[in-house]
Amino acid sequence: MRKGRLLIAVLLCAGLVISPSVWAASDTINIGFPIPLTGDNPDLGASSKNAAEMYLKKFPTVEVGAKTYKLNFIYEDNEFKAESAVKAVTKLITEEEVLAIVGPQASAQAVPAGEVANNYATPMISPWSTNPNATLNRPYVFRGCFLDPFQGPVAANFVTDELGAKKAAVLYDIASDYPKGLAEFFKQAFEKIHGPGSVVAFESFTTGDKDFSAQMANIVASGADVLFTPQYYSEVPLIVRAAQENGFTKPIMGSDSWGSGDLMGLCGDDCKGFYFSTHYAAAGAQGATKEFIDEYNAAYGKTPDDVAALTWDSLGIMIQAIRNTGGLSGDIKADRTKVKDALGAIKDYPGITGKMTFTPEGDPIKCAVVVKINEEGQFAFHKSVCP
């Protein structure tokens, strides 16, 4: 009996030594996906996995230096929980020996997981996390989407170039972090282009206000060419209505908060014809983006959401970084650092959600998509705008 156990133990140890992952390490690149396959938000994991599987089918191998490597994707469930994300990332790095990590998606998991990846000096890119802390002071952690404040300059450029605005008005909720930050960034960027005082009305309100007529009267009287209002979908209908009723007939521009929730159900026809900036738009996409959407649609029978599109791009830029290293040594620790350096050095990576270049913090400088709410009430791609 004791001998039997010993034999099994010896065999298991031998199995470890000659396990295929170690064997295959010479010609396989492992990439880990700590994504929520179960838990509160399994859709997030499904979209990520779909995009990754599609990528693998299309590009099963990658050429690094003169050698062709087989790609191997490992999906680890983070259950949409912070502690599971930490476990998943630790497992991917220490047991599966992945070269790089794509994920987790939501900030709640990406922030703690980034800590682990950075401590183990493993390059990680979170496609979807917008919380600044995910990448802050973590040289090994990157993200695939822009941060919230970034939309301010984007909107300022768009209204200047596309709508010909010289004077702008802003209406925002001063008691809410997201709109307040965005309003201030927009003001800075717009005044940088058009000079101080070009934001002719900077009107605020507090959360829960329903009547914006007085602010709107000020805005109309200020003679602004455009109104920027980075508010949530539940407030936008009231703001748009107040604009109509007070004779503001100029265009209105919003931010990605417009796209969340049931904007068109609440706003109906009133919101048609206005613009807002966001990560990605499926309707009216062109070029490589359309190709991606069509392929995804053919494979899974649905339109890819922003998570799928951003995962596709994050994975793509990671593979590009691996390719840019010019050759892997086989020493996983040294290779990880090489990949991290290559990732930070990528310039203008042509992603389907826009061109990407990383800042030293690991946040991308990328173009945002401006969508126009068309006559059918869809959020249609209008223009790609770069900061």
Binding site: F202, E203, K210, A214, A217, V220, P237, E245, G247, G268
Partner: protein, 321 residues
């Protein structure tokens, strides 16, 4: 401030004030007659708006929408207002029967917190039954914006102000011209002695709640037309402000509550251009979000100089609070 700009704000203030006035009436009546702070009234306004939403959707389903409609939209609106006022009156009656009548002889503070609790119950039941997401109020009449010499006015604004004033006038007539109205006035005059001479206290209480709730329902529907996003907490801060208007108007004065309601709307709206002028004159940088801070400081000052409200009589002997 140009005249146009002033007129534009004045029109906006009239609409905004209409809502305060209509809701303040409900507070004022209950407060005058039963010496009770019905803090649930703001939430009855919310319930009225949701009942209006349900009735409107039901009617639209029956008569059809767009070109296939059997009757024009304004008729649906009138029917919606009337049916919802009727239904919401029962909500008021139930609240009175369940929450206030058993506590009529309890300390005033108990009755006041009863109102707060009923309010929370109404809000959370709404979330329970409807899920708490924002709902869009159907636009029963087509919105038209008229430009009269640079002043923008919509058909809805005109309608809201006219309907509000008509309802207030009707209530005023009811209170001053009918026997029931006389009973209510008598009760407001002396809460203790009047029931002794045979005026039925419970009937008057029920009537007061029913009328106040019906007016709140009308306000809710008009509110839905003007601000078409309904949420379960829409009545909270709105209710507080209308309560301020009710007290500012003075106890026992229907016209006082109306005028105070309009005044409150006027102060709130006019504070925003006022801030702008201050900013320009003294090159300050005050945001228009300070509207409520400034507006209610003004109200506080008014109340310091007229502690019984604008039209209230000083009373002392029968003070039950």
């Amino acid at each position: 401030m140009s005249l146009n700009f002033f007129m534009q704000n004045l029109i906006n203030a009239l609409q905004w004030g209409s809502f305060y006035a209509l809701i303040a009436l409900g507070y004022s009546m209950v407060y005058s007659i039963l010496m009770l702070f019905n803090f649930a009234h703001g939430d009855i306004f919310m319930v009225g708006a949701y009942i209006g939403l349900g009735v409107a959707l039901l009617l639209l389903k029956i008569v059809g929408t767009g070109t296939a409609a059997l009757v024009p939209g304004w008729l649906v609106l009138v029917a919606t207002i009337l049916i919802s006022m009727f239904l919401t009156a029962f909500v008021g009656i139930i609240v009175e029967r369940v929450a206030y009548r058993p506590l009529r002889d309890a300390p005033r503070a108990s009755a006041a917190i009863t109102g707060l609790m009923v309010g929370i119950i109404l809000e959370t039941s709404n979330i329970l039954f409807l899920g708490g997401q924002r709902l869009a109020f159907p636009q029963l009449i087509q919105s038209q914006t008229y430009n009269i010499g640079g002043i923008f006015i919509t058909n809805k604004k005109i309608m809201i102000v006219i309907v509000s004033i008509a309802l207030m006038t009707a209530l005023h007539q009811f209170v001053t011209r009918t026997r029931w109205g006389m009973a209510m006035r008598a009760m407001a005059y002396d809460f203790v002695v009047v029931p002794l001479v045979g005026v039925p206290l419970n009937t008057i209480a029920v009537m007061t709640f029913a009328i106040g709730s019906a007016l709140a329902a009308a306000a809710g529907i008009l509110f839905g037309l003007a601000y078409p996003v309904l949420d379960p907490y829409m009545g909270v801060s709105f209710g507080w402000k209308a309560f301020v208007a009710a007290i500012l108007g003075g106890r026992g004065s229907i016209m006082g509550a109306c005028i105070a309601g309009f005044m409150l709307g006027f102060i709130e709206i006019m504070t925003v251009p006022g801030i702008q002028i201050l900013n320009r004159l003294f090159s300050l940088n005050i945001g228009s979000n300070l509207r409520d801070l400034i507006a209610y400081s003004i109200v506080l000052v008014i109340l310091v100089f007229r502690p019984h409200g604008l039209f209230g009589e000083p009373y002392s002997a029968k003070l039950r609070l």
